[in-house]
Subunit: 133 residues, 4 copies
């Protein structure tokens, strides 16, 4: 189970990377049931990205995959059009990463939003990099 200490550790690692590259973001950490565990909005992050950070993390937990992987199923021509409308709306683009324990079970996810998509991804990866289980 994801602890509060781990969640805060992830937030701090993400915040440090975001500060280093100069991009204020929102960072959300959800647990294995997609319930909110910890959250931080850095000063200057746009309000609209709060919901996106939460939805990226939610997308990652709900499908046990990076948020952008969901797009492969619902993009034009793919077999599940409208998939992104399920679950009160997904965010099928990069910045949401699942957290897995040593057996590969999903224990939560991180979602980052506020920068360009590659920046959000870099920050989410920096957060997840400090996670161990």
């Amino acid at each position: 189970m994801l602890s509060a200490r781990q969640a805060q550790h992830l937030l701090t690692a993400g915040e440090e990377r975001a500060a280093r590259i100069g991009v204020p973001v929102n960072i959300a950490v959800l647990d294995a049931g997609a319930h909110l565990k910890a959250f931080l909005r850095m000063d200057g992050a746009v309000l609209g990205s709060i919901d996106i950070a939460l939805k990226k993390a939610r997308t990652a937990v709900l499908f046990g995959a990076a948020s952008e992987a969901v797009w492969e199923y619902c993009k034009p021509g793919a077999p599940a059009p409208g998939l992104e409308l399920s679950n009160d709306g997904l965010a099928p683009f990069a910045g949401g990463i699942p957290l897995k324990d040593r057996n590969g079970a999903i224990v939560g996810a991180v979602g980052v939003s506020g920068g360009a998509v590659p920046q959000d991804l870099e920050i989410a990866q920096a957060a997840v990099a400090v996670f161990y289980f």
Copy 2:
């Protein structure tokens, strides 16, 4: 902070432009937290454009940008497909313009809907043109 007097001034300026070009519209003014400050539906504006005016203004506040700028991120081939599904649904097309103070901070937004998109944009611009801070 956006005052009631300023908000009404924006509504009047928008309404005058709309009347001049003969297009009945809805005009919404939101504050910095995306909360409703003032609103007017001109006679003859279609009911469906009430929500669109509100959502255009909301989109502009939440992302600190003209509403159509959001489309650049979520249009086909862009890096954030489904972005328009966030925040209870955005309106990523022209007619929502953020209001900024002299330091560039977002203090609210205007959203206009009811005409053709270029008309809505023209009316929103006429409203914002009378704003000073």
Copy 3:
């Protein structure tokens, strides 16, 4: 049909009374279909009363009666418990007043919130008093 000019006239009358008694409020005007026609949040009105002003006006239109009249049907011991949960939530207390034409048909409503309930009622009555049809 309620015109934009009439709706603004109602807002102004309500605002003047509110200013005179020193209570910043939200004033909402809806049409016969409970759709937003005009709105003003006076400076200093609490954010939470935006939704209440809208819901009072909505309650008045939907039931063709003053908003507090709905409470008679759903208060403890009355025959319709839970009525206030219908229609996405009603506001069954004073401050919402229907607008009627000379034949008694509902053409809209005013809703006021931000002060004590008797103050909201006084302001709503002052707004409706300038309505003629």
Copy 4:
């Protein structure tokens, strides 16, 4: 404007008090527009209290008052029955406290849930006690 640093400081102060009295809680910090700024769920806090912590803080921001003050308006016999149904549902009981600047303007709120109501209040007060503006 409430900073990320201040929000985290509030979370830490609340968490310390909660740990001292042995009650795992959720602590939410919202900004002046009721948008999420920071959040922490302590290990062992029940899932159902996530939403309550958020709603308590939301209630405090929206009405510029301690969350339980709203109950005085909507409790049985009070003048605003159903008030708690507004704004997507309020949490009109103790544990939500507004944050004010030196001029008395609302800059955000803290909401705590997970313990008995008096415990939640004590923890929220401990969080707010470290706030200065």
